[in-house]
C-alpha cells in the first residue's frame, strides 16, 4: 500500500515540476515588463487568452497548420502588447503608479467581456491530443512535457538576448536607471515599445503551450492571472531569476497540495504561503532590498 502511495506522490512532484516550467514562462513576460517599464499588466493573462483564441480560430476554424497558427498567435499578442503600451500605458506613465495598475485592470475587463461577446462562453478546444508517456508506474502528459521544454528554451533565449545583443543591453540598462539612459542616446519610448512587444510575445508563447492543455473560454485569464502575479511578487517584481524559482515552489504547492487534498486546497495553501512569505521577506524570496 505504502509503495503505491509513494509512486503517486512522486508523480505529483514530477507533474508539479512540469507545471513549474509553464508557470515560470508565464511570470517571465510580466517580470520583463515590470522590470523595464515599472508597470504591472493586470491584464497579462487576458493577453494570453487572446493568443489562445487566435490559435484556436486559425487552426481549428480556418485550417492553418498548427505551427503556423501558433507563430501567428505569438506575433498577434506581441503586437497587442506593443499597442497596449502605446495606447493605454503611455498616457498614464506620468500618473500615480496605482493608476497604471488600474488602467490595465480596465483592459482586463474589456478583453474578457469582448471575448465573451465575440466568441461566446462555450469552452473551446483545438482537439489535438497526445498519448501519455508512461515510464514505469508514472505517466506524464505529453503537452506538459513539451511545455516544460519550450518554456525552458524560451527563457534561455530571452536570457541570451538580454545578455548578448545590443538591444538587450539597452533594455537592461534602462531597467537600471530610467533617468540617465535618454542622456546616453537611448530612446526610452522605443525601448518600452520593444519590451512590451517582447512581453506580449512571451504571453503568446505561453498561449501556444496552454492551448495544448486547456479548454479556451473568456474567463480563463482569471484562473492563470492571480497565480502569475503572486509568483512574480514572490520572486520579487521584476526579478526574473526570482520569478523562476518562485514558479517551481508554487507549482509544488499546487500539485502536491492538490494530491493530498482537493485542487482548491492546493491553491489555498499556496496563497497562504505567499502571504506568509510577503511578511517574512517583502522584497521577495530572491530579491535584495
Amino acid at each position: 500500500m505504502m509503495q503505491i502511495f509513494d509512486v503517486f506522490l512522486l508523480e505529483a512532484v514530477l507533474n508539479g515540476l512540469l507545471l513549474g516550467g509553464l508557470l515560470a514562462l508565464l511570470s517571465l513576460g510580466l517580470n520583463l515588463v515590470f522590470g523595464v517599464i515599472d508597470v504591472v499588466w493586470i491584464c497579462y493573462a487576458e493577453l494570453i487568452m487572446v493568443g489562445m483564441y487566435a490559435i484556436y480560430y486559425l487552426y481549428a476554424v480556418f485550417g492553418w497548420p498548427l505551427l503556423l497558427a501558433m507563430a501567428a498567435g505569438v506575433l498577434l499578442v506581441a503586437a497587442a502588447g506593443a499597442a497596449l503600451h502605446q495606447f493605454v500605458i503611455r498616457p498614464v506613465l506620468a500618473a500615480e503608479p496605482i493608476n497604471q495598475l488600474l488602467v490595465t485592470g480596465g483592459v482586463l475587463f474589456f478583453l474578457q467581456a469582448a471575448a465573451t461577446l465575440a466568441f461566446g462562453i462555450e469552452f473551446k478546444n483545438i482537439g489535438v491530443s497526445f498519448p501519455p508517456i508512461v515510464v514505469g508506474d508514472i505517466s506524464f502528459s505529453m503537452p506538459r512535457l513539451i511545455s516544460f521544454g519550450v518554456a525552458l528554451a524560451g527563457m534561455l533565449a530571452l536570457y541570451l538576448f538580454l545578455k548578448r545583443s545590443y538591444l538587450g543591453t539597452a533594455i537592461r540598462a534602462i531597467s537600471q536607471d530610467r533617468g540617465i539612459m535618454p542622456l546616453m542616446g537611448v530612446n526610452p519610448h522605443r525601448i518600452f515599445i520593444i519590451t512590451s512587444a517582447l512581453g506580449g510575445g512571451l504571453a503568446g508563447l505561453a498561449a501556444c503551450l496552454l492551448v495544448l492543455q486547456y479548454d479556451i473560454h473568456p474567463a480563463i485569464g482569471l484562473s492563470f492571472g492571480p497565480i502569475t502575479f503572486l509568483i512574480c511578487v514572490l520572486g520579487g517584481l521584476g526579478n526574473m531569476a526570482g520569478g523562476f524559482v518562485a514558479a517551481f515552489i508554487f507549482a509544488q504547492f499546487i500539485s502536491v497540495g492538490g494530491f493530498f487534498l482537493a485542487v482548491e486546497w492546493g491553491y489555498v495553501i499556496a496563497f497562504v504561503f505567499f502571504i506568509a512569505v510577503m511578511f517574512w521577506r517583502p522584497q521577495g524570496i530572491w530579491g535584495s532590498k
Partner: protein
C-alpha cells in the same frame, strides 16, 4: 438654501417609493444604495492610497458567515453578523498589521490583498460540502407563514429593504464625514504622500492605517451580509475573488473616490449602464455592457482620473475660480 439642499434631496429620496415607484425601479434603487455603501467603504481607505483588491474577502465573509450560520445552526443574522464582523476584523488585522508594519505599499499591497480575496473564493469553493461550492447558496426561507421575519432578517417587501439599505448607506456617509473631519485623515493623507516623513513627525503610521482598514473592511462585511439577505442567493464569484474586487475598485473610480458621494455615483452609473445596455440590446449580447464598461474604465482612468462626480465638481469649481485668475493676470 444651499445648506437645506441635501436634506431636501434626502427627503425626496426617502419619499420616492411611497409615491408609487414601481417594483423594478425600487430594486435598482436598493442596489445602487447597497453597492454605494460598499463602494463608500472601499473608498475610505482607497482614497488614502491604500488600494485594496482584497475587499472581495470581506464581502464574502459577511455574506457567507451569516448565511451558513443561519442555514446550518439556525443562528439569527442578528447574531451571525457580529460573528462575521469579528471574523472580518481578525482577517483585516492579520493581513493589515504585517503589511503596514513592513511597509508593503502600492503594487505590493494591491497584489497581497488580491491573494486574500482569491483565498476567500477558493475556500468557499473548497468547502463545497458546507457552502454549496460554485453553485452558491440560498438562505433557508423563514417566510412560509408571514411576509416578514425580523429574526431571520428576511422581508418579502422591497419597501422594508429600501429603508434598511437607505439607513445603512446614510451611516456609511456619516462615517466618511466623521473621518473627513478627524485629525486621522490629515495624518493618513500625509502618510499616503510621504510615509517616512509622516512617521518622522510622530504619526503612528501602522496604527492609523490599521484603523482605517478595519473601518473599511467592517463596512464591506456589513454590505456583504445585507446583499446576501436581500438577494437571498450568493455564489463565490458574486461576493468573493478577484472579479468582484476589481469591480468594486472600478465602480469607485468611475464615480470618483475623493468626494463623498462619488462612490455612490459610481454605483449608480455602473448599474444604470449595465441595465440600460441590457434593455437596449437584450440578453443576446449580454457581455456588451461589460465591454463598453471596460472601455470606459480605461478612458476614465486616462482622461478623468477623478471620476464623474469628482470631475464635474472640479469643472464647476474651475469656472468659479477662473474669473479672479483672469483679473489677476
Amino acid at each position: 438654501m444651499m445648506r437645506a439642499l441635501p436634506w431636501i434631496c434626502l427627503a425626496a429620496l426617502a419619499a420616492a417609493p411611497l409615491v408609487g415607484l414601481g417594483n423594478y425601479p425600487l430594486h435598482m434603487l436598493i442596489q445602487v444604495l447597497l453597492w454605494g455603501f460598499v463602494y463608500t467603504g472601499w473608498s475610505i481607505m482607497g482614497r488614502l492610497g491604500l488600494v485594496s483588491f482584497g475587499h472581495g474577502a470581506f464581502l464574502g465573509i459577511g455574506a457567507y458567515v451569516v448565511v451558513m450560520l443561519w442555514n446550518a445552526y439556525g443562528v439569527s443574522p442578528w447574531i451571525g453578523l457580529p460573528i462575521a464582523l469579528a471574523l472580518t476584523a481578525v482577517v483585516a488585522f492579520v493581513i493589515g498589521y504585517p503589511c503596514f508594519r513592513f511597509k508593503i505599499v502600492g503594487h505590493y499591497f494591491a497584489l497581497v490583498t488580491l491573494a486574500l480575496s482569491e483565498i476567500a473564493r477558493m475556500l468557499i469553493v473548497a468547502l463545497r460540502d458546507h457552502t454549496g461550492g460554485s453553485l452558491g447558496v440560498t438562505p433557508k426561507t423563514a417566510l412560509t407563514e408571514s411576509a416578514y421575519s425580523l429574526v431571520a432578517l428576511q422581508f418579502s417587501s422591497k419597501l422594508v429593504w429600501f429603508y434598511i439599505v437607505l439607513a445603512v448607506w446614510l451611516g456609511g456617509l456619516w462615517v466618511w464625514k466623521k473621518m473627513d473631519r478627524s485629525m486621522a485623515r490629515l495624518a493618513l493623507e500625509a502618510i499616503s504622500q510621504e510615509e517616512d516623513a509622516a512617521g518622522s513627525i510622530g504619526i503612528n503610521v501602522t496604527r492609523l492605517k490599521l484603523g482605517v482598514t478595519l473601518i473599511s473592511a467592517l463596512m464591506t462585511c456589513v454590505g456583504g451580509a445585507l446583499y446576501a439577505q436581500y438577494q437571498a442567493y450568493v455564489n463565490p464569484d458574486s461576493v468573493a475573488g478577484i472579479g468582484i474586487s476589481l469591480q468594486m475598485v472600478f465602480g469607485v473610480i468611475a464615480g470618483g473616490m475623493y468626494v463623498r458621494l462619488g462612490p455612490t455615483v459610481g454605483a449608480a452609473f455602473t448599474l444604470l449602464l449595465a441595465e440600460s445596455l441590457r434593455l437596449m440590446f437584450g440578453n443576446s449580447l449580454h457581455a456588451l455592457d461589460s465591454t463598453i464598461y471596460g472601455l470606459m474604465l480605461v478612458l476614465f482612468i486616462i482622461f478623468m482620473p477623478k471620476g464623474i462626480l469628482g470631475g464635474a465638481l472640479e469643472a464647476v469649481k474651475g469656472k468659479k475660480a477662473a474669473s479672479p485668475d483672469v483679473q489677476r493676470a
